[in-house]
Subunit: 112 residues, 2 copies
């Protein structure tokens, strides 16, 4: 059986992008300032990672005006939610594997 | 409270490196060929990521000869095990947060 980490998707697994999709999994949409604060990212970092997710078809970006001030909203696409669910599934499998082996496999030498 | 993803360490969070440390958490040491097969990496990729982990002080590399054939062994240092445990703790927190909010927060608009 493949190791659970082989199922991780580099596009989503990256720390900031995982955070963005985690926030968007909890909400219909989130605005740029909220994401920046919640994930402790700089403007430039957040923009860059949103762009990667948008290019992958995982996130939709929408610009609105409220009281003449521009706001940028991000939401997860269906594809983004599916990819995020797959990532969380792989992380769950990794953790379950560690929990299962922790007690028995210590000290074993792994040899092919 | 900070989002759990802000606690992820870029050195360890990377897919291949997370896999290496996960295998090493389950064993005293693992040889290069075993890691390459288990994690489905190329020689070049595995070497590169082992080097990053070695430079960070998370992994120790040891070369031995058996029946005149060289073998490369990797093992996690104490520091590597601690950093891996912190990563798994952050991933657990992320998953618990998702499990806790899934039922209630759908459709919420996140605004600061």
């Amino acid at each position: 059986m493949s190791h659970p980490t082989t199922r991780l998707d580099d596009t989503i697994h990256q720390r900031a992008r995982l955070g963005i999709l985690a926030v968007l999994a909890e909400s219909r949409r989130a605005d740029f300032n909220y994401l920046r604060g919640a994930l402790e990212l700089t403007d430039g970092n957040l923009s860059r990672h949103l762009k990667v997710l948008e290019d992958a078809g995982y996130v939709r970006i929408e610009k609105t005006f409220e009281a003449k001030r521009p706001r940028t909203w991000a939401s997860a696409t269906r594809r983004g939610r599916d990819a995020f669910a797959a990532e969380i599934g792989a992380l769950r499998a990794l953790i379950e594997r560690l929990d299962g082996t922790e007690a028995t496999a210590k000290g074993k030498t792994v040899v092919q």
